[in-house]
């Protein structure tokens, strides 16, 4: 088997909570609490979970926009966890990000041309004519016209702006794109345009995606494999088909059953979870999900289950499968 493009081992991010007069650390928010996964070349790994589960923090740590508290990140076999800042900047040529909010992630005072040129300048394309040519090419690739180059972000609709965000990420020919809720702010008819574009680009340029989203339908559509996160942990990870057809973890089962389905005839049995997600500053002992789990046993409150392969390629962190 070939080496995965990205490999993450026991990645953690604990944010300190400061309090008191001297700003001492009084606690920690365990945003990401030990996740491990890999992404193969050319595939899409989806990360789903509800707000505060740590999926965006995980994505940011891969690019080291946030420094991990613990754990290792390997990119093409190379440990990038402790690369110095200038070398890391060079690495980011290979890994780019697309953000959720197409309104907030584009500088309103720059023209599209300037926005798309910037990564090229940063990554050392010195020839101005060459950059202009590349900008035209990028606009064409994402389905915009070259005359759009002179316009400002406010002159575009949400869907077009997200196309600009994608073009910016593509500018330096990256291998990996981390897309953090790239279609959440868009209407359904526009959402499907952008998803199709992302799939076309993947095929054409052999891109690898880490696709972070909360919409389970979107994630199934775009992902080859899917990881489900809850309170900073991956609770289940498998091929997308398997995960949706045969979810193992009680949280995944509840999550999938909670999604309202646009169909009036076939109403699946719904598992309604009680209460809210516990605070990541004070996560429950044992299994993070045991406080809301309909199948919780005594061991669940005491021992935290580890992510284990329960079927080929299907991982779950649950005591039910031990």
């Amino acid at each position: 088997m070939t080496e995965p493009l990205v490999k993450v081992e026991n990645l953690k991010k604990h944010f300190p909570i400061r309090g008191g007069l001297l700003g001492k650390t009084v606690g920690e928010v365990k945003a990401v609490d030990g996740v491990s996964f890999f992404i193969n070349k050319g595939e899409t790994l989806g990360l789903v979970g509800e707000s505060g589960c740590g999926k965006s923090t995980t994505g940011r740590m891969l690019l080291r926009l946030l420094e991990p508290s613990d754990g290792k990140i390997y990119f093409e076999g190379k440990d990038i966890t402790s690369l110095p800042a200038d070398e890391m900047r060079k690495m980011r040529r290979e890994m780019q990000m697309v953000f959720q909010d197409p309104f907030a992630s584009l500088n309103p005072r720059h023209t599209v041309e300037k926005i798309l040129e910037e990564p090229l300048i940063v990554h050392g394309v010195k020839n101005k004519a060459e950059r202009k040519r590349r900008v035209k090419e990028l606009l064409d690739v994402v389905g915009l016209s070259s005359w759009h180059a002179k316009r400002y972000p406010h002159q575009f609709s949400g869907g077009q702006r997200q196309r600009i965000g994608i073009a910016r990420a593509l500018a330096v020919n990256p291998k990996l794109i981390i897309a953090d809720e790239p279609v959440s702010a868009l209407d359904v008819s526009i959402q499907s345009q952008v998803l199709n574009l992302m799939q076309d680009l993947q095929k054409e340029y052999g891109l690898t995606y880490l696709f972070i989203a909360h919409d389970l339908g979107v994630v199934r559509h775009i992902s080859d494999r899917v990881g489900v996160m809850y309170l900073g942990n991956i609770v289940e990870l498998s091929a997308s088909e398997q995960l949706y057809e045969n979810p193992k973890h009680p949280y995944t089962q509840a999550l999938l059953s909670a999604v309202p389905i646009p169909d009036v005839e076939h109403r699946p049995e719904r598992i309604i979870l009680q209460g809210d997600v516990p605070s990541p500053a004070n996560p429950p002992k044992g299994c993070p999900f045991h406080t809301r789990c309909p199948k919780a046993m005594d061991t669940c409150a005491a021992v935290r289950p580890l992510l284990k392969e329960i079927e080929p390629g299907h991982y779950a962190a649950c005591h039910l499968y031990e």
């Binding site: 949400g158 359904v188 526009i190 499907s192 199934r220 909670a258 999604v259 309202p260 646009p262 009036v264």
Partner: protein, 329 residues
């Protein structure tokens, strides 16, 4: 059959802009019967929220203009005075908004905010009103209601805040509840809890619900009848089963197909090309024509009317023009 609780006839809401008076809601008609759940779906800018604000009399009079009839128990709310609207709002018609954080006042306790409408509309004293508030919080499934009334909104999670909003809206037993994207800001597991609660309240109290949403899943789950809006117009109307199983308008068909289905995987999603037109930019013809795969010459020059079918379905599209259908039959 019982008479409708609210009847909207020829509602037109327009706003004054640099380009003149631009209609955002353009001549729409619908009614809601007691206890019914009506869904209004459409994408951003289709006018669904403006429709609900028009009913509530919350369109700013300085720039906005509401024309047509909004008949609530025979009274036209479109002409009602502000004083009269204040009697109706929160009492006969209540509303839940999308953002439970911004729609609660952060400097008042949950209890103070809950009893406000009882104190104003029913003139109840503080003690009885507070007892009722506690009762309402229990009804919407909130634990430790007695303590909760003394707490502030920031002490509650998003799902709990939305339950408080629902309790507040339902406290005066309104005839109509307008829910504008009530679960959009919530996570799916919390959304499932809130939808379940709204269904339960609807069944127990006979309050009609006007459910405004962009999520077709929520519509299928909650509603009996659906209006599909596009660019300020109702393009299709029918009972929920018909809309999902036999949609007729090309926009409704495209919208349903655009949603990635969690249960099956397709290689490529259907997508509607282009963007929603800017309000007021298309004066003639069908608003959807520039994005429609079936557009004919007539669609660009003439605006289609509503064609009705035997099952109550109504479609605003030249493909289903009555004269055309008669020819086919």
């Amino acid at each position: 059959m019982s008479s409708p609780i609210i009847e909207v006839k020829g509602l037109q809401t327009s706003f004054l802009t640099e380009d003149g008076q631009i209609p955002v809601v353009n001549n729409i008609d619908f009614d809601i019967k007691p206890g019914e759940v009506l869904g209004i779906v459409g994408e951003s800018g289709c006018g669904k929220s403006v429709t609900s604000l028009s009913i509530m009399g919350l369109i700013p009079t300085a720039t906005g203009k509401v024309e047509g009839e909004i008949l609530f128990k025979g009274e036209n709310l479109a002409n009602a005075t502000e004083a009269r609207m204040r009697q109706i709002r929160g009492n006969d018609i209540a509303m839940i908004f999308q953002e439970p954080m911004t729609s609660l006042n952060p400097v008042f306790t949950i209890g103070e905010q809950l009893i406000e409408s009882l104190r104003i509309h029913r003139k109840w004293n503080k003690k009885t009103a507070m007892a009722r508030a506690v009762e309402m919080l229990k009804l919407v499934g909130l634990p430790r209601a007695e303590e909760l009334v003394k707490e502030y909104p920031h002490q509650l999670s998003g799902g709990m805040r939305q339950r408080v909003m629902i309790a507040m809206a339902m406290i005066c037993e309104p005839k109509l509840l307008i829910a504008d994207e009530p679960t959009t800001a919530l996570d799916v597991t919390i959304q499932a809890q809130i939808l379940e609660l709204m269904k339960k309240l609807n069944q127990e109290t006979d309050t009609a619900i006007m459910m405004i949403t962009h999520d077709l899943g929520v519509v299928a789950e909650m509603c009996e009848r659906v209006l599909v809006m596009y660019a300020g117009k109702v393009v299709e109307e029918g009972d929920v089963k018909t809309i999902f199983q036999n949609p007729k308008h090309p926009y409704t068909i495209g919208l349903i197909q655009s949603v990635p289905d969690m249960r099956t995987k397709v290689d490529r999603l259907y997508s509607i090309p282009g963007n929603v037109p800017k309000p007021g930019s298309l004066k003639l013809g069908c608003q959807f024509a520039p994005r429609c795969a079936h557009a004919m010459d007539r669609c660009i020059s003439e605006s289609p009317g509503l064609s009705s079918f035997d099952n109550g379905q109504q479609v605003r599209c030249w493909l289903y023009d009555d004269s055309e259908r008669r020819k086919q039959a």
